[in-house]
């Protein structure tokens, strides 16, 4: 499974990266590693708007999102 690391990047880079990943592999599921809550919220909204499912779990202080 593809893994995207957006930890510590400023707005809107994480969402842009996820957006590109969605365009590259339309139907693949992939994981995103993020470090801040507002980044998680931004990504979650963006991909849900695209009709994708998202699950978020805490890994240490970071967040791992699975997008399918």
């Amino acid at each position: 499974m593809k893994k995207l690391d957006v930890r510590g990047l400023s707005c809107p880079e994480p969402v842009l990266m996820v957006s590109n990943a969605l365009q590259d592999g339309e139907n693949d599921s992939f994981k995103v590693l993020a470090s801040e809550a507002h980044t998680v919220a931004n990504i979650k909204e963006f991909v849900e708007g695209k009709g994708k499912k998202v699950s978020v779990r805490k890994v240490g202080d970071d967040f791992e999102m699975e997008i399918s």
Binding site: G8, S10, P12, M17, N20
Partner: protein, 365 residues
Amino acid sequence: MNFLQEKKGIFFLGLLAGLGAVILAMNGNPKNMAFCIACFIRDSAGAMKFQTTPVVQYFRPEIVGIVAGSFIISLTTREYRSMAGSSPMIRFVLGTLMMIGALVFLGCPLRMVLRMSAGDISAYVGLIGFIGGVATGAYMLKKGFSLGRSYPVKKENGYFLPAVLVVLLVLSATTTLFAVSTKGPGSMHAPLLLSLVVGIIFGIIAQKTRMCFAGSLRDIILMKDFKLFSVVGGIFVMMLIYNIVSGNFKFATFGPIAHAQITWNILGMYVVGFAAVLLGGCPLRQLVLAGSGSSDAGVTVVGMFFGGALAHNFDLASSAASKATTEAAAVFGGPGLNGQIMTIACIALLFVIAFIGIKKNAVNK
């Protein structure tokens, strides 16, 4: 809480934030300047004598409130995280440039929206420049611009800015260390506690909604996403209603504490929009991020403070225009030669920073 995450809920929170601005306007903050991050940081720099323009010196509790509000809510909701290390020196410079641009226009994007809601045409002119600046920044992002990653650091890093601001506010309220304007915009302010409380609530709302004036336009340009825009819409609508009801609304070439020089309104706001997108957020957003643990945003805030002092010590800031009266001739307002040269220099420097930041093999192309 889900309601608050949706567009309608965000619009509602925008209305609430707008109400905060209305309350401050009704209780003594300057007309059409109920809330302005740039002006208020500049006033605070003046209060601490980092600049000595007599009419713009007052330690604004709203700034303390926004940072404190963001700090409190992010700790409460466990969203606080101390991060640092994403090009701090470049961010400091960008903060300085953003501030100078804002003071050439006479307001941050938040104040631009407040001025627009009062019918100030010069603010609509500024909006043209702001959109241009945001679009330029968005183009650089598409090209792969990044200031790099920030990394987790000791959590206490993020405690300092809120703590220092609170200490300074206590000092400003209890001692005569700080300068306070006796006339001009700096002398107009709501009672301290009210300013602080509204600031805190504003900070909480801004943290929850991720309110950002540059981001709202950037998301529309890059992703056709109007969500962040709805919170800005909420503030605008609330202030518009207040201005109409209170008789403050009138279409005029310039309103209070503003000037009508088209070129410099556009270019000043162009600098703000461009710098804000490169930074990842407008002046308000920088305060909020600094409150929720970002040392990088904290450094940006210090850069803005520095920019505020610079703008007045070297005559870069614009003067406000005024109509002719029986005692005085009309004042044209706008930036002097220094401000005009600096605005052009800011734009040149922003392009330099943007090109420096474009990565080869960009991840976000």
